[in-house]
Amino acid sequence: MSAILSFDNVWVEYRDKVVLESVTLDIEERSFVSLVGPSGAGKSTFLRLVLGQEGPTRGTVLLDGTKLKPECEPDRGVVFQKYSVFPHMTALQNVMLGLECARAPVMARLYGKARKRARDEAAAMLEAVGLAHNLDIYPAQMSGGMQQRLAIAQALVKHPRILLLDEPFGALDPGIRLDMQALVTRLWREHGLTILLVTHDIQEAFKLGTRVLAFDKRRHDPHAPHRYGATAVYDVALDRKDREDAERELAAHLSPQPAAAGAA
């Protein structure tokens, strides 16, 4: 396995606030990396760096050995907690959009045979996420779980090098959540995906991931908490049997919540 994504001494700063400091790590192809950590520890910033929604202040991020531009490109797909799908398009149209953008530069719409082909591809992808019977309904008519399935199909139809999941199941009911975890695991195996999953749920992180990265601040200055950034303080590759031990170890590892830290 080779590194698909490399972070080399990456810093992200907003004015005098340091969000991420000296992040250096490689992510292997076909790995399933869970990102955990307390709120404000830079998980989402890390994801935005990979996504290209923003660029690092210092350091470099390499995708397949090439420096990432600070702009989103179709080689990195994303599913957010919400608003990932387009409310004005049916399920099928939502998934076809990615194909239409690539194949119809001016109109972003396909006609005739090309449309039929894109439609079939999109329908197959919707079937793979379990929405085969809901091709022509709008997102507002779907449950939260169905919308997330749609968002995954929409991203996968572009065959991204990396799939980014930003708390994708955070707003779902527990039962639906289990279904979605199973779906993502299956798609990851079947499609040979590389997945970065940001989650608040440590159990979920260990259940799904082949590797867990915990982001937190290494140092804490009580008088100027913004001056130290977070980095990957805990990084473990998992196989089945050491999962529970690792989970306990991480729980002990993460710093207490800010309120408790202030009192200490």
Binding site: C72, P74, L97, A108, A140
Partner: protein
């Protein structure tokens, strides 16, 4: 039962809505009768019969001087001005509003200018329009367009910039460039709002139309009202006002229908 929990059924709602209207008409009828009893030549509160006679005369008979049916000519002239003015405003809201909402550079360049234009009371520039464009149709249409366009542009820009950033990012990860993003993600979601914003702007548009017609015109609903005012012809003014409200209600209903038909996803989540 608490007052806030009393819900009327359909018939009840219709009745409740009709009562104030009927009451108003009765009050008018009583006052009109009282004034006419005191002075049979009174023109201020004409009877319903007198109003319908006057209105029918304008609606059916051909005017000897112009050779046209007055009400029809007035209505067509006014609706034409209103329609063209509103269309220009709508089109500029679509183009500029979306450009402002989507492209940060355009917002930086044009935002302040549109902000300044928006605070100018349109009627204040009517003399400028009359001087620059003459007293013909152009200046009246321009007043309507200039009067409502800034609001519509800003409303559109605000709506577009309020689209969730997730959607914009998502579209880019699907390979959409700026144009494709605008065409497939932004414009379709902006159109129902554009219709909504047009509906809100029709009120002001009528104000600007009537004002322009009152000052310089020779045909039009506003012109007629202000013309017959000289003769205290309330029997024409009141039906004309009612006719204008009817046109306004019809326009609003049509726009609403269009929006529901064309954008089912924007109305209570789907078909």
């Amino acid at each position: 039962m608490r007052v806030v929990n009393i819900k009327l059924n359909r018939g009840g709602r219709l009745l409740a809505g009709a009562i104030p209207i009927i009451a108003m008409l009765i009050v008018y009828g009583v006052m009109s009768a009282a004034r006419l009893e005191a002075n049979e030549y009174d023109k201020v509160l004409p009877t319903f019969g007198a109003m319908s006679d006057a209105f029918l005369r304008l609606a059916i008979e051909t005017d000897a001087r112009t050779g046209q049916i007055t009400l029809l000519a007035d209505t067509l002239a006014s609706l034409r001005r209103l329609g063209i003015g509103a269309a220009i405003a709508t089109l500029s809201a679509l183009v500029f509003g979306i450009a402002l909402g989507v492209v940060p550079t355009v917002r930086a360049a044009l935002g302040p200018l549109i902000g300044i234009i928006a605070v100018i009371p349109p009627i204040a520039i009517l003399p400028i329009l009359f001087i620059a464009l003459g007293l013909g149709e152009t200046s009246k249409i321009a007043l309507i367009a200039i009067g409502i366009a800034p609001f519509m542009i800003r409303d559109m820009a605000a709506h577009v910039s309020a689209l969730p950033v997730e959607q914009i990012i998502k579209a880019q990860t699907l390979g959409a460039n700026s144009w494709q993003l605008t065409l497939r993600v932004v414009v379709p979601q902006a159109l129902p709002r554009l219709i909504h914003s047009l509906r809100l702007s029709m009120g002001p548009a009528w104000v600007f139309l009537i004002s322009a017609e009152a000052i310089a015109s020779n045909v039009g609903l506003g012109y007629r009202i202000f013309l017959v005012r000289r003769y205290l012809s309330m029997d024409i003014i009141l039906p004309y006002v009612a006719w204008i409200s009817l046109l306004a209600i019809a326009t609003d209903a049509l726009l609403m229908l269009l929006s529901r038909r064309a954008y089912p996803w924007a109305h209570e989540g789907g078909r």
